[in-house]
Symmetry: C2
Subunit: 754 residues, 2 copies
């Protein structure tokens, strides 16, 4: 795993991998075998009965035929390769369901975006800072409270521990922050825990870190929304019964927004963070100044009864809960490339500011809690109590609560950026189903976004939207990832021995030890109250990821091209020299082309050949064209091509490409293979496959309605049922879409992976 | 609709309908067009690379190969047609799921039965009487109680009406019974309401009668089980909380039993009825004798308060509820052919006996109710009260309750015979989905049995298993069917004017008027308390049946063969005279046949040709065989055959036939068509299709593992989604089953019905 690989810009051209020299050589050998078998170089190439460049077809005659306008010929150079590009209209199939689905997507998500629209947005420090720190800063809204909720069980004696524990957590913040500053320097392309741990510690630590992150992103959404709703219901207690519906509504909003591809930048996202920092700062300053003016009167002893004595276990639990205030601190490290140059310098400066702000807010809140003697109360958050203490229930109080809710919502949104990205990295390394690499029509990783929403909604409903119930699950995953990431950095410095490596190593080692301590503390202290769920989820994730990888490796091996030893003539085997391919249909004649309407009239005069009705036909009257959708040149696809060619009817291979570059690569491979069959590359800039392919085949059908088009689909069939979830069932979906259309025969050539 | 048609023995050979002379002529014309197009008579027939008689294959060499034993050649006459018959082992596909499903079916349902095992069992009168009368006689267990439950609302004044109402109902019994005696004479093959009403009154009355029956069979199951459980809980009040689970358990038992194909005959089924009649008779006699000995002391006035006054409406409701005692009276009329000859005479005698017994039991119970002053009590049935009154709570009381529960269970079982039969008649007339004509591997109409169970279970749970709640829905459907059936008989006599027609007409007219009166009374009086549900269900059924018929008619028209006008040479169309079909594979050579094991060894020596691995192959190396499963010779199937032939590879058509006769018919049509392609008929005596077909194709594959077998499936695609439920999705299921197998390519030739 290299750094570049993990953090290269998301490249939708992944379906067609770059072939190594050896693979290219094999491809060539396989092609040679075809050539030898065929006898003559161009034996399999037959003049097609249709024009494969469906885009150019009507343009020449200016016929208004909206269905053809779904395709545009991009480069009509006469001799050079023509590329048919699917327009946005080609994304809609002509069935009522297809049309309705397309329209619903456009209304909900906005117009589809071309792959080329994917440019990385750079952010100014003043914008990047609030956007990337919302997760970290928002955790002061629940961190102190989570700690106090535990300490209060120990009664007054327990509460006296809040000062030392707060100081310990602040020390943690400083140490972890300094540690991450080192990561930024080493991974200027962004150093997520999965990448850092995987690069330096190996595959299992990488997967464990990824598992921790995955679990934690789900919990970030659930906890942030729960805490945000708590901020609202503190101000409006009447809403407290509707926590779960409100939370589900918020998740639905986040889902829709992120499917649209909400960009992180912009004032809209920066403002709440600044307002929140200002408000909480004001609460702290006003509260402390008031107390100072009153000469720091001793807080009235809280009326609580100790439920248990102050045990080490209680202290551990309180510390682990309070440490949730550290979550989100890694966001800047993951996102170094979004800063303006010099990226790592700007990122590091921003991180310093975030840490300082976090320290100030956390310290201030804890100080105010101690001064005012605030303890957690049912139905009202600690922050709300403090705000009321400082400002009463006026406009300023409302602003505090509103900005708290807003920043928590932003924090949840952070997970919507992180979760699909980690999942897509895992999918690229074959540890997660391939669907997670696919970008939706708004250039967002739609499948990851969907999965996160469903998982977070389930967790949220299961725990009734209670922050207190969710906190024990939280932080375990984060600190597992933190620990592995910092440890990875230690190894990194040890190996690289670059400038200042000793200092950096020392910082990272401190961070690693502290994070490990928190992880172990949290895992032990909160095990029975919920951490076991998180740990189990991480373990399950790692096991699943490994099994997925094993499957993909097996499929990869099975699909790898290998030249086979052609059997010698003799024995039972007879090598048949066949005559050149027959031609049962008139080839497509560009010279005689007429506008569609005229052609249609002529045909009715001429009689039966071009009728669309599915009438009885004798075998003689059936004119064939085989269309083979080719995804890549692996064994399954080559076998489908061989099957198609062996039928000795005109064959047209079609490749759908998300970009012009990928199209070019495919053509190169095709030539390298031997160019045995005509290939048409359709560029689908909106990255969809099914709809443009169906529309392309329909466009061929409309050129020559009398033709029977056999669509030959290669399909990989894994042996186990659950493995089928790991394949995109493209053949199934295409078959279903083509099912409705007249004169189209669908053939599936299965390839079995044992 | 003829009488024979409705009651011919269930004939599993229905999928291939008998063709009319006109259809045969069309078939011949279509075949002639193939011949003319092909140029030479046998042009499409190619020597096959395999032996289609897979059964005979290993038998000749005594090789033990269990997979081949799935097929047996039945008639190997050398020159005559050989028939391959699927053995029971061919019913199991080789996938783990297929094996598990097969085994589960065998454990639950017992061994599969061949179609030839379907012989009609004749019953002696002494056995037929109790078996066919259980439904009718059991209704005295809830009829009187249903009436009293209503009358008691009117207080003492209401109860005084029980005597006249009981007499009215007894008069009804007599009249309806006499009326049905006429039906028996006119319909010696069995005159169900659907048949009689459809024959004489037309399609709508027939459907209404069928709807009434359908709704009523579901309610019979629910009501009988509810009443049976009430009989049990009267004796064992501790069970009264578990009514719904017990009821569902009983439905599950009935489901399993009927899927196994429980035969109605046998002492097991006759005994409970006799015991019940004896017990209830004893209750009546003992009770009345006791009362007589005591000089008929006036019953203590029941302590009840009138809820309402005695209105006409109340009387109507009570009458309609009491009339449920008439349900089941038609069973003998439907089942005339099960009697020994002279059937109608024996049936009529039995009906007389049933009516007399019913009169005696109903009258006796009502008399005892009046004498003892019994009124319905919560938690105990009226019959249970009477039994305790006569016998105390001793062994005799337990016997009464047990036999009541047993006869009610039998009555529910009656519906399991009637419902699927009516549904299969409707399906044969294209008013219900075709799946209901199909017999399961135990020769029972499994799909109808399943539907009845699900519907009855839903109704039972919805009404909490309460007889009182269910009774208002009941009887409406029965009396609708009774009315239409009797009216149909009136028309029948009027038209036929056969011997005694005037008398018969008079009896039937009386019956019709009385039944109509009950129907109207029930529909009005119980409309709001539940009858509207039943009426709505009947109306919905009729509408649905009509829409189903419209669809099937459209499909039938679309699929009808029609010779098309072959276009003349000239214009854009070129008629291609093609060379005789190429032969890319060695044909199958019976002379050189060797035992399978030897062959396998040789092949490994000879090299690649017969390898099973899905390796890369050049088009030259692919050897084809197309297999077309043909269900019948309609347009969809002929188009698939034409498609297969047009590929100019060896084609083998396979037809699965449930019986030898049907196989013969298929061969005749095939010859009539022109015998353009080789046809193999596989007899599947267990009526399954998917598994034997898959196994047959696998057997071909094992003969020649190097061959690529393309299975070409004709598939009818209706335009609307709900219409797809009306088709058996055979193509889908076959595709799914073949998907797993190596070197088998599946092609779907869709036929679209617009």
């Amino acid at each position: 795993m290299t750094q570049e690989r993990a953090h290269r810009p998301p490249d939708p051209s992944d379906p067609l991998p770059e072939l190594t020299a050896e693979q290219l050589a094999t491809l060539h050998t396989v092609g040679e075998q075809w050539r030898r078998a065929a006898g003559a170089p161009q034996n399999w190439r037959v003049a097609l009965p249709v024009d494969p460049h469906v885009g150019s077809y009507p343009a020449r005659h200016q016929v208004h035929q909206p269905r053809y306008e779904r395709f545009v010929t991009v480069a009509d150079l006469g001799s050079g390769p023509q590329t048919t590009e699917a327009s946005q209209a080609a994304d809609m199939t002509s069935s009522p369901l297809g049309r309705a689905g397309y329209r619903a997507r456009r209304v909900l998500l906005g117009p589809a975006l071309k792959s080329t629209a994917l440019v990385r947005e750079r952010m100014r420090k003043l914008v990047a800072l609030p956007v990337l720190s919302s997760d970290a800063l928002s955790s002061v809204a629940y961190g102190p409270e989570a700690m106090l909720t535990i300490l209060v069980i120990g009664g007054v004696a327990g509460l006296t521990l809040s000062l030392p524990l707060a100081l310990a957590i602040m020390f943690m913040m400083l140490a972890v922050g300094l540690s991450y500053r080192q990561t930024i320097r080493a991974y200027p392309n962004g150093g997520g825990s999965y990448v850092v741990a995987g690069d330096n510690l190996g595959r299992m630590p990488g997967l464990l870190a990824a598992g921790g992150l995955i679990v934690d992103y789900v919990l970030t959404v659930a906890v942030s929304i729960a805490a945000g709703i708590a901020a609202i219901t503190s101000a409006l207690p009447a809403l407290s019964g509707a926590t779960v519906p409100i939370g589900l509504g918020v998740i639905a909003l986040l889902l829709a927004g992120n499917l649209r591809g909400v960009r992180q930048a912009g004032v809209l996202f920066a403002a709440p963070t600044y307002v929140f920092v200002f408000c909480v700062g004001a609460v702290i300053v006003v509260g402390l100044v008031r107390a100072a003016l009153a000469g720091f009167p001793p807080a009235p002893p809280p009326r609580i009864d100790a439920v248990t004595g102050v045990t080490l276990f209680l202290v551990m639990r309180a510390f682990a809960s309070g440490a949730t205030a550290l979550t989100g601190i890694e966001a800047i490290t993951n996102a170094v490339p979004v800063f303006r140059p010099v990226e790592w310098r700007n990122a590091r400066a921003s991180l310093t500011w975030v840490i300082l702000t976090l320290l100030a807010l956390f310290g201030g809140i804890m100080a105010l809690v101690l001064v005012t003697g605030t303890i957690p109360a049912p139905g009202e958050t600690v922050l709300s109590q403090l705000a009321r203490h400082s400002f009463g229930t006026g406009a300023m109080y409302v602003l505090v609560q509103a900005s708290t809710a807003a920043i928590l919502l932003l924090a949840a949104n952070t997970a919507y950026n992180g979760f699909p990205r980690v999942l897509s990295l895992l999918a690229r390394d074959h540890y997660a189903p391939r669907v997670f690499t696919r970008m939706g029509d708004r250039l967002a990783y739609s499948n990851g976004i969907l999965l996160l929403s469903v998982a977070a909604a389930l967790i949220f409903v299961f725990f009734g939207g209670s922050t207190t119930a969710l906190i024990p699950l939280y932080a375990v995953g984060v600190f597992l990832a933190f620990t592995l990431s910092q440890t990875g950095m230690v190894v990194h410095w040890w190996r690289s021995r670059s400038r200042h490596w000793r200092t950096s190593l020392a910082f990272n080692a401190t961070g690693a030890v502290l994070c490990a301590a928190v992880f172990v503390t949290a895992a032990i202290a909160k095990f029975t109250s919920g951490a076991w769920v998180a740990l189990l989820a991480v373990a399950a994730f790692v096991l699943l990821a490994l099994r997925i990888r094993v499957h993909y490796d097996a499929v990869g091996r099975a699909l790898r091209l290998r030249p086979h030893t052609v059997s010698l003539p003799g024995g039972n085997v007879r090598v048949i020299r066949r005559s050149p391919v027959r031609q049962t249909t008139e080839p497509w004649r560009p010279v005689e082309m007429k506008p569609v309407r005229e052609r249609a009239e002529e045909e009715t005069e001429e009689g039966e050949e071009e009728t669309e009705a599915e009438e009885e036909e004798t075998p003689e009257e059936i004119h064939h064209l085989s269309v083979v959708p080719v995804e890549t040149l692996d064994l399954a696809n080559i076998r489908a091509l061989a099957y198609a060619a062996s039928l000795q009817q005109p064959v047209l291979a079609v490749h759908l490409s998300p970009s012009e570059e990928e199209a070019e690569r495919m053509r190169r491979y095709w030539t390298h293979w031997g160019d045995h069959l005509p290939l048409e590359v359709v560029v689908s800039p909106y990255r969809t496959i099914i709809a443009p392919l169906v529309n392309y085949i329909e466009a061929l059908h409309e050129q020559r309605p009398g033709l029977t088009i056999t669509v030959i689909l290669p399909e990989v069939v894994p042996a186990r049922l659950w493995h089928r979830l790991l394949h995109d069932r493209m053949a199934f979906r295409l078959r279903h879409a083509l099912h409705e259309r007249p004169k189209i025969v669908v053939t599936t050539v299965s390839f079995h992976v044992r």
